[in-house]
Symmetry: C2
Amino acid sequence: MATAINKLAIFGPGLVGGSLAGAARRHRLAAEIRVWARRPDAAQAVVARGWADAGTTDVAAAAEGADFLILATPVGVMPELARRLAGVRLATDAVVTDVGSVKTFVARNVAPIFEAAGITFIGSHPMAGSEAAGFEAARDDLFDGAACILTPHAASLPRLREFWESLGCRIAVMTPNEHDAAIARISHLPHLTASALTLAALTDQADIVSLVGRGFRDTTRIASGDASLWTEILLENHDAIEPPLEDLTRRLAALLDFLKNRNEMALRKFLTEAKCLRDQANDPRANCHG
Amino acid sequence: MATAINKLAIFGPGLVGGSLAGAARRHRLAAEIRVWARRPDAAQAVVARGWADAGTTDVAAAAEGADFLILATPVGVMPELARRLAGVRLATDAVVTDVGSVKTFVARNVAPIFEAAGITFIGSHPMAGSEAAGFEAARDDLFDGAACILTPHAASLPRLREFWESLGCRIAVMTPNEHDAAIARISHLPHLTASALTLAALTDQADIVSLVGRGFRDTTRIASGDASLWTEILLENHDAIEPPLEDLTRRLAALLDFLKNRNEMALRKFLTEAKCLRDQANDPRANCHG
């Protein structure tokens, strides 16, 4: 990495925060890695795994003198964490980022606190995660090949970009609004869909649960995500989720109509267009109309 | 396998049929394996891979003297194939099965042809597949750990059961109607949902296609399946698909309502119940109410 980090501080070593510690260590991005967690054992687990040099439950001890800080807690906790960090003496060139999945909330409730304290803050959202939660599921290659969306409110973008690129991420830059609209479509809507599909398919069908194949498993996997965490995320981004959710409901109603009327041509057209778009997600150069 | 096969004949060496040839070879289930395909090169590809001893485009040549026959073509082709097989001299103890995904159609349009000819026919549906199609995607371990549903119309069930168990499948026995109702929920509804979700998320959103993460990819993967094949399957099973599709549409409408009214409690309850059911698909002993 062109701009080496002296002291990296990570707040919240769960799946993403813990993986960040591991990835930063693997890529030797920082001379020193510190993690802060609410529970002492959570902080010590990262140290025990060799992914951090120090673990603490003291925000000031983790942040003191740090030049690269990452908030990896649930977004609801970030404003309070930001207020505590604003009172700590960081390195003069410090950059703070987060990995939250809802960026207008962060722009409104987190970024201003750092700005008022004269601290550089830029939002990040690495598109890497899992239905699993917690440090047990952390992996030092979690970010390999993932997209990472940056939502700059401030300067120092090159340094942040280089950090994520060093972890193997592809970078996209957006405003917080653009980010939230995109994530509503490719993350939040799929979560709601997987949950609704699971309930529609399996409610009161105990005898068929054991029959499901890889198709069903993959289609519904993310429904196993933490319900409280997702409730928070979805409510925070409800404005952006509602239009595509209405769109999805209309499309399913159309499919029902095609089936009831044996409209083979319309059904085939629907499935063909969907296949074409989905193939593009694997290969953006795929040509839908070739 | 307790009941070894002398001559195994597989009709239609695509993803499933080709994988069956490979799996039968790997597990040494048959003294001789023959494949029939419409195109000579498709039949020869299986022989070239070492998964069949003979490949032919002649139905009678493939079937003559066979004691275990598997129809692995699209179900729409099976009645005609059955009529041709009914005129061939099979082994006296021959068992015929299929791997089609819609079983009332098979019970109505395929089984009677074999019954009239005095040939034992029992439907099978191994819950293994992929969004990929064709022999190129075939794998000799495709059936490892998969569920396989048998829909007996006739005797000789133990022999069929042992065949699938030898390939690593877990067996369930159902009537064709029960099969189609179950598959509507765990295969056909997920396919429609993945297609509709892809269109709702990505239509006219070319700039976000490259951002999708593993969650979106998995949730929509099956939408890349062959559109013509799926149009046929879905129309054949429309009766069984309509009730769970209506249920899904209602649940998505409820979610929209929860978001619009910031009904945190209802949203969390919905996601919690879905997580619980989905966790059971990974571990049937998971306790939802513990």
